[in-house]
């Protein structure tokens, strides 16, 4: 039954529609979906970076596996390693599936990592990009061998019919340079106003000022 629900789900049907289709109540569909999710969480393929909830009895683990908020978060582990975690909500998957007219689960998912150092990225002007296919059911990924001292943006998306379809884009994150600066770098002026960032910052903000790309 879960298989059938997932299939319908990926064909852009709403929970109510699925319930009708399968002769279940809305609650039953939701329950099965949730159960299906926690099961896929426990699959070995997904255990990379997964919460150690497996070690605890189910009823003691009270953190939800997902929060219902679309997010792609890019974190800098070090000069050459990035960490990405993401959550793509059902509605968004549903939209994408309905556009591609395909079963969301059958499509290769992955990350496109753009080098946007010193650029105001518009989707086309990256210095270069690199694709990473992620395993099915993964919700986070370590990307190795990136360049120190560069600024990156990651798209989570689908590789479908030899094209990449971005679904969600991260904020930029800058890797640290792991060697001394080149000679001749300009002197740094004082930034007096602490209310607005004068330089690129790796953390996000709820305040309303644009991120600087310097």
């Amino acid at each position: 039954m879960l298989e059938r629900i997932l299939q319908l789900r990926s064909q852009s049907m709403s929970i109510a529609q699925i319930a009708k289709e399968c002769g279940l109540t809305v609650g039953q569909v939701k329950y099965r979906l949730q159960k299906g999710r926690s099961r896929s969480e426990a699959e070995p393929a997904a255990s990379r970076n997964a919460a150690p909830s497996q070690n605890r009895p189910d009823d003691a683990w009270r953190l939800p596996p997902f929060y219902g908020r679309d997010v792609v978060k890019l974190m800098v582990q070090g000069p050459t390693v990035l960490f990405v975690y993401w959550e793509i909500t059902w509605p968004r998957m549903r939209m994408v599936a309905s556009y591609l007219q395909a079963d969301y689960r059958q499509i290769d998912k992955g990350l496109r990592l753009y080098d946007v150092t010193d650029r105001l990225f518009d989707g086309t002007n990256a210095h270069g990009h690199r694709d990473v296919t992620v395993s099915d059911g993964a919700h986070s990924w370590f990307v190795h061998d990136v360049q120190p001292g560069r600024t990156y943006i990651a798209d989570f998306g689908l590789f479908h019919r030899e094209r990449f379809y971005p679904i969600l884009r991260s904020e930029p994150a800058a890797t640290p340079r792991n060697h001394p600066a080149a000679w001749g770098e300009p002197l740094v002026e004082t930034a007096a106003d602490t209310r607005v960032p004068a330089w690129f910052e790796n953390f996000s903000s709820y305040s309303l000022y644009p991120k600087t790309s310097k």
Binding site: A51, P52, F83, V96, P197, E201, S205
Partner: protein, 949 residues
Amino acid sequence: MVSNGYLSLVLHAHLPYVRDGERDDRLEERWVYEAMLESYIPLLLVFDKLLADSIPFRITLAVSPPLLSMLDDPLIRERFQRHLAKTVELAGKECRRTSGSPEEHRVAKMYLRRFREIAAYCRKWDYALIPALKRLQDSGFAELITCAATHAFLPFVETEEAIRAQLMVGIDTHERILGRRPAGIWLPECGYTPGLDRLLKEAGIRYFFTDSHTVRHATPQPRRGLFAPLLTPYDVAAFPRDEEASRQVWSSVIGYPGDYDYREYYRDIGFDLDWAYIAPYVHPEGIRVHTGLKYHRITGRGVPKAIYDPDRAREKAAVHAGHFLASREAQAVQAAEWLDRPPLITATYDAELFGHWWYEGPQFLDFLLRKTACDSQVISLTTPSAYLDDYPQIDRGRLPMSSWGRNGYGEVWLNEQNGWIYRHLHQAERELIELVEETHDDHEARPLLRRGLQQAARELMLAQSSDWAFIMDGQTVVDYAVRRTHDHLACFRELMEQIRAGTIDPERLAARERAYPLFPAVDLRYYLPAGSHRVNVSRQYVAAGKEREEGLRVLMLSWEFPPRVVGGLGRAVYDLARHLARQHVEVHVLTAAPCTAAQTELVDGVRVHRLNTYVPGEQSDFLDWVFQLNLAMTDAAERLVRQGFRPDLIHAHDWMVGWAALELKQRFELPLVTTIHALEHGRHQGIHTPLQQRIHEREENLSAASDRLIVCSRYMAGEVNRLFGVPQERIDVIPNGVECPPAATADEEERMRGVREELGLGTGPVIMFVGRMVREKGVHLLLEAAPRVLHDHPEAVFVLAGKGPMLEEWRQTAEQRGLSSRVRFLGFVDDVRRNLLFRLAAAAVFPSLYEPFGIVALEAMSLGTPVIAADTGGLREIVRHGENGLTFYTGNADSLADQLCWLLHRPDERGRLVRLAREDILRQYEWNRLALQTLDLYRSLGSALATSI
């Protein structure tokens, strides 16, 4: 004495908040007692004696807020008192047990003496270490600084607001307990990330410490290397720790603590002695633990451990202190050769190393401080504040993200073992910020709400402690670290749910407050976005809604909007939106940004949100781009709703916004109104290609899912009904509107003459066509009819404005028929010129084969031009033959020629047709009226509206 160099010693004391209010047998809580007994109190004794001996030493002590809070906690003091008593008792027993073995007996007596000394010190100060720290601070010899509130690894905190809270709550705690605001901070794990300096500056922090490579890799290269601090762009000073000084103490290979004469940490009687004997002094559940009584020295590798010799160890500590000082002196002398000022060497260590891990550490420090202060001719002791006062001129540079952890960056706190925590921590940050912001005005008046949020903030901060990720990385007491992370986050979530639902459980809340009595008065404002612009924006939305309760809020989706206008759709949406705004409807239009700059602006009372797609339009397949625009619209709507905008309904325009419309309808459970401006089937007189098929299906989907459809003509209503089976009662006909301009001014008359002259139109009648040059517009019929008209009126001129794929072909047709001199193809014509042409024309002709509406015909009518239109689609509904214009049989060139000739022959009829046309426009096609009709339709969704809000 002028120094050749400075030594700044920094000890960082931190333990995670491990107090357990309910149980006194937590193994983790022993970390506190062990550190107090072996490190903190022995160090305080060293400093006390230095003060008593009037030794002018200088040292910097960072005490983390959780540790300060625990040291300040009566429960911890009481439990430590018991722990100490037990330990003294055990040492006494050990003296008796070892009486037969002189070497061991000597060590046992050393412990007994030591513990009694500590007990005496504690009794004297009532087991309170805080006053001792204050005395030290007041002496001026030690500078006490703070740390982030719960020792969070700040580079991995997601938001500026949560970092600010970590910094400010740390500073507040320091001030509350120690009575002064700290000048500096120990960044947890020396974790730095660009921008952190801005928040440090804002918090009034003057300096912090980094690892060596942080400053070495600064931009530009620091001229004084690591022998001076470096200012960040925000003028906060970064003091890099000295590598050699670190290595000599830290290194497991060459570090002093590994000396064979020093005490062996890993041989403890808690593990070595008979269970029956040791049981009362270890964990009640039968777990062996360190007691602190250890009898062996390190002795060597792979040899039996010899018994500890306190005198020998003490001598070694003195030797090492001498060696350490000599090394610093040598460094300083060498650096002074190329430096323009005395070099500063910053040596930073964990305080717990001294005494707990390295038993002789406090003695070493005692020797070092005395020797340096009294004997050294080269090195003076200093603190960061004193150095900054002496040397205010400092170079500036940008620092990279870094830490003092393994390999210098973030891998200890972000790896396969602990990466999972950040998804939860970041979500909690965002939720807390949003809820604090949302409820901000109520915090004063509703103490329970405030307390709930404060406890939520405490739970979040406790979950953020870098210690948990560190422990998961080390794989030692992983279960404890996982449990702490999980439990704080779970309690956080529970509290947040209760706060949102307005069902805070006061007893449960009080229990959590008692269990974690640190940060008693967390200032929630630290979680407010800086400047709180956002607060104003969202409040504006909410307030606007409250103010006029009848005022509807509409989320309008349109792929084009002026200045981006491709066809008539953008113009129609603009006119409808601004006229709705005049009726006090709050309209938000989501549309594509014309260039890459996304922005929100107010256009004639309409909030227009111009959105970017991940890939710009010109770079991708049209359909892909349209879908990406739908994703962007969905996200923008989600953002607006989160900011407090509560739409009553969605109004979509054509299939291009169908995915977003359907998604948003479902997500927010809103009624959906869709205007169908044109249909793919009509545009192509059928569906012929896969792309057309896809678009056709999108139109069908959107029509089926919409609660109401608006079309511009009865003809279109029929088409929608015929093609998609949508019942007539769900379809409303609301035509598009036009403005009715006043009669031509003298200036315009003048310009009309100018245009005639410029285009060489002569003085004869002008027959005007405006439209895209596509087959469905029927220009070929006009060219067919032209010869007959010219036969009767040789001076007539045909003016054809517009461009499109058929332009070239029709130009050739005109040429082949010998019409070149009487037909002008103008290509694209702007609105002003077009209107002048309409005004001077004798007739405007619309020979369309397919025309859902025919807005241009209306515009011609509004300008006083007689209209001849094909008897088709929407045109048929606008033009009534012989009354407000003329019609001809669709697709019939003869019929068109008949009408043209008749009109040109009867100039007297012209005035009548034009007058009635103008009246019709004012009565039926005036935008205010149409906006009101649309509003009535919105309101008729009333029952759906009521349930949706």
